[in-house]
Amino acid sequence: MKLINYIMLIACAGLLGGCAAKVPTELANARQAYQRASAGPAAQLVPAELHKAQEALNRAEGSFKYDPKSYQTKDLAYVAERKAIMAEALASVASEKGSAAQANKEYQATQGEIMKRTEEDLARTQTEKSEAATAAAADKLAVEQQARLDAEKRATEAATAAGEGKLATEQQARLESERRAADAAAAAAADKLAVEQQARLDSDKRAADATAAATAAEKLSVEQQGRRDAEKQLADAQAALAKVAVVKEEPRGLVITLSGSVVFASNKATLLPEAQSRLSQVAETLMSTNKNRKLVVEGHTDSQGSAAFNMELSQRRAEAVRSYLISRGYPAELIEARGIGKVRPIADNASSEGRANNRRVEIIVER
């Protein structure tokens, strides 16, 4: 009985060993390859190829179940592995094609971008050229217009200068007419202005005349008053002088005559004290009334003695009087001393009285 159980155990082990057959290398590789392929991009990019690999693997699996060690199982597994690898390769091909397509798309987009930029540059360049051409045309037109205007101006000038050309003549006539009208208007305006100015001037002149007349009247009045005062002062002065000397109006001026016997000692040129007193009074009178007038002091002698002696004596006496007047404050530059000698007597030298009158000093106050 134990022997029978042992035999059955061995038989079961043998059956189990036979059921758990060893997987061929080809099938293991196929399974691994398919698992790798199905986990990669092939499932999305090339599902049909992946499906073919799966079918091949199924056939290998089926053969493996039927006859694990047969060459058919190994060959089917081998083919299934190649199908899985091929699915991966085809997925890679699809991916590379996608990359190439994307690159080509970017290339075309870049070309479009470049084209657009080129067109913009071209448009800008054309715009600039157009603007430059427009500016050049404007300049040219301006030059032409200027030339035409110059030509017209020259033609007009030529026509005017030659007296030819109806238009120029009319223009000239119109210009002349306008100029005349303008001149007439200007003349009228000037006349009006002149009249107004004249009226204003007349008015001003009348006012000025009235003012001047008033001023002149006032001045005249003042002058008359001054003259009256001066005359009164002069009369007073002459009256005062008349007390100390003989005063007489002559063509050569006011002549103040001092008797020589009173002024000088005989044959002397020294002033006597009485003469100094009189001369002081004369000087004060002249200072007060005729300070700005020129004085001529003349010395005269009688006929006794030589002419040269009398001339020299009369000169010294005139100088003595001049010096005294200067000492009293009369301006020296206004006093001239002259020695006349005996040549201009005013009385007969035959008598002593006459000779006494001839010995004299005359102070002529020039007008």
Binding site: D75, M86, A89, V93, A100, I114
Partner: protein, 129 residues
């Protein structure tokens, strides 16, 4: 006797026909066109110059040769099965050749787009639409 003769003739005929069919099947040539054309296609796409593909091209050639040897030994079924390996490897060699070509073309396209942007002084990174 006559009846036995007819049955015997019929059995003989059937046997002759069966023998003839069996002989014909045994002597049918190996169909290597598919494998051969696959190998030729791989060679035409330059698989021999592409490292990743040249291995499978070489395997296909060896498997084709192995199939012929098996066929010569009378192992027709085993030879035919071996041909499926050769066909699969030849087809894979073609596919890997195409993959390499596509990689090269994609690289050229990317470089061309990059160079175009560089030559025209444009930003190198483009925003995806």
């Amino acid at each position: 006797m006559r009846h036995v003769s007819k049955i015997g003739i019929m059995v003989f005929a059937v046997a002759v026909v069966a023998a003839a069919i069996a002989t014909g099947c045994k002597s049918a040539p190996l169909r290597t066109e598919s494998a051969t054309s696959g190998i030729r296609a791989a060679e035409e796409v330059g698989a021999s110059k592409i490292p990743s593909a040249s291995v499978y091209l070489q395997l296909a050639k060896e498997e084709l040769e192995h199939a012929r040897v098996l066929a010569a030994k009378g192992k027709k079924d085993e030879a035919a099965s071996m041909l499926t390996r050769a066909e699969a490897d030849a087809e894979l060699a073609v596919t890997l050749s195409h993959e390499q070509t596509e990689k090269t073309e994609a690289g050229k396209a990317i470089e061309r787009a990059r160079q175009l942007r560089k030559d025209n002084q444009l930003p190198m990174e483009r925003s995806n639409p």
